[in-house]
């Protein structure tokens, strides 16, 4: 990925700070406009590089809000977010976000390969088209998620589980160092869930970091790193992971 590049926000390709964790939240609070009470308040979290952090909580507990804030989609009301030691937005290409309910227009004329290839967007920046390296990464991600037979299918024809896999393939194609996965197993069949569990394991083995939100305690990875339990936007202090 060498050569000329104009990132989308100029400062979007900063190098990680030496020794900084993948993610550090200090006293993070988030408010939605027009809503009384914070959506998140006083959240601290450190996710070391190469670890899987798990956010546990019921629907509405603030898991998605936390991930959206880290992805740069909402500005915090207070506190700080550091991604590899940098402020949010300073390294867009290092962060991949898989939302629980994506804003994807599934009727848009794009095939699975095109969708996965769009994971390279932050790396390409303005005016650059995907090259052989980007295409090879997209093919590998499609293969890894078991979508090779569907690569040329329009996304409109995918089932719910296949769509989720395609979005996961896009996150993989991005080669992000920090993956934010919001309920990634929703709508997946058991086979796809196993595939995803294996994928998360491989990513961590390769030194990547993952923050995964789940309301299902049974779906927590076998060796989780930090676990943050949220209730009504606040961290629950008692030991959340007693086995």
């Amino acid at each position: 990925m060498s050569g000329w590049r104009v990132g989308y926000r100029g400062r979007g390709h900063r190098a990680p700070r030496p020794g900084a964790p993948a993610l550090r939240l200090d006293g993070l609070s988030v408010r939605y406009p027009g809503v009384t009470g914070p959506a998140l308040q006083g959240v601290d979290l450190v996710v070391p590089r190469g670890a899987v952090a798990v956010l546990v909580g019921h629907n509405g507990s603030g898991k998605s809000t936390l991930l959206r804030a880290v992805a740069g989609l909402i500005r915090p009301a207070a506190g700080s977010i550091r991604v590899f030691g940098n402020p949010v937005g300073a390294c867009h290409h290092r962060v991949a976000y898989l939302p629980q309910r994506s804003e994807v227009d599934w009727r848009f004329p794009v095939d699975v390969r095109g969708l996965v290839l769009s994971g390279r967007l932050a790396h390409l920046g303005w005016l650059r088209r995907p090259g052989p390296v980007d295409h090879a990464l997209a093919e590998a991600a499609i293969e890894r998620l078991g979508l090779a037979a569907l690569a040329r299918e329009p996304v409109a024809r995918l089932s719910g589980g296949q769509r989720q896999r395609a979005l996961l393939a896009r996150a993989l194609c991005q080669e992000a160092d920090l993956l934010l996965l919001d309920e990634p197993l929703t709508a997946m069949d058991p086979e796809a869930r196993d595939l995803t569990d294996g994928l998360v394991g491989d990513l961590v083995a390769a030194g990547r970091s993952v923050v995964m939100a789940t309301h299902d305690l049974d779906r927590v990875p076998p060796e989780p790193g930090p676990v943050l339990r949220l209730a009504a936007g606040r961290p629950v202090r008692e030991p959340a992971w007693a086995g």
Partner: protein, 280 residues
């Protein structure tokens, strides 16, 4: 072959054909993004809001193109500003800007005395394009095609997954604003060919026809441009030979191609369904 070559002996027909094809290609290419983003109302709105610009230009003796261009770009900026960060739904923002500007145009229109100019504004006058108009239309078309090619991935990704585009650092609102300005530019050309009333047809109909037969944005744009070019030529020939309004003939040619595409697709799907349902 006389019917084919005879009109070409007239310089105004040759210029009109070139203008119709250039405008059609630009409108159809931008129109694909309009259709894919379900912004079909915007073309109609931007054409109507050009009215005050056109009237002011006619009153003060300026170029009509320049008047329409300024009014169109101003409206595009107003719509973009009103609807940024989804502060107001896009259709509501368009409704507010569109009716306000059109009403202003109607008030100003009372100041003009020329019925001829009004007819040309409302229904187009492609056979009246001069050499300067052609250069302007050519320049607009080139600018639009270069912009669409240069920002293809940004336009596509911010349309089909704005959330992903934002996470990648792309300013989705700015891309949409840029698209609105491109639409304003092509609308100005389209007003010359088909007039204020029918402009949205050049934006929407070829793109809608192309969307029926392809599942790739790039192919859709090429196909829509080809449809608009064919409709432009067919419409002007029909206008010449039948003595009917050129703008309406071009739009009806677009509609006919859409109808044929729709029928072709429905026929193909019906045949596939029958084959599938046939007892083995």
């Amino acid at each position: 072959m006389g019917w084919l070559t005879e009109p070409l002996t007239w310089p105004f027909i040759r210029k009109g054909l070139l203008a119709a094809v250039l405008v059609g290609v630009a409108c159809a290419a931008v129109g694909c993004h309009v259709v894919l983003r379900r912004m079909s109302l915007v073309g109609d709105a931007l054409a109507h809001t050009a009215l005050p610009g056109l009237v002011v230009a006619a009153l003060w003796g300026w170029s009509l193109f320049a008047g329409a261009l300024v009014a169109g770009v101003v409206t595009a900026l107003i719509i973009g500003w009103l609807t940024r960060r989804e502060a107001l739904r896009e259709d509501a923002g368009i409704g507010v800007a569109f009716t306000g500007m059109f009403a202003l145009g109607i008030l100003l229109l009372a100041e003009t005395r020329s019925q001829r100019d009004l007819t040309h504004i409302l229904f187009g006058n492609v056979l009246g394009v001069g050499a300067a108009d052609l250069w302007l239309v050519g320049g607009l078309t080139l600018l639009v095609i270069v912009a669409l090619a240069a920002f293809h991935k940004e336009l596509a990704v911010s349309a089909f997954d704005p959330g992903h585009a934002r996470v990648a650092g792309l300013r989705v609102d700015a891309v949409r604003q840029g698209l609105l300005i491109l639409i304003a530019l092509v609308v100005v050309g389209a007003i010359k060919v088909v007039g204020v009333v029918l402009t949205s047809a050049l934006l929407v109909t070829p793109a809608a026809a192309a969307s029926l037969v392809t599942t790739s944005v790039a192919r859709m744009m090429v196909l829509a441009a080809a449809i608009a070019a064919v409709a432009g030529v067919a419409g002007l020939y029909a206008s010449y030979h039948l003595g009917v309004s050129s703008g309406a003939a071009v739009v009806l040619a677009c509609t006919a191609i859409f109808g044929a595409t729709w029928a072709g697709r429905a026929g193909r799907e019906g045949a596939l369904r029958r084959r599938r349902d046939r007892p083995v």
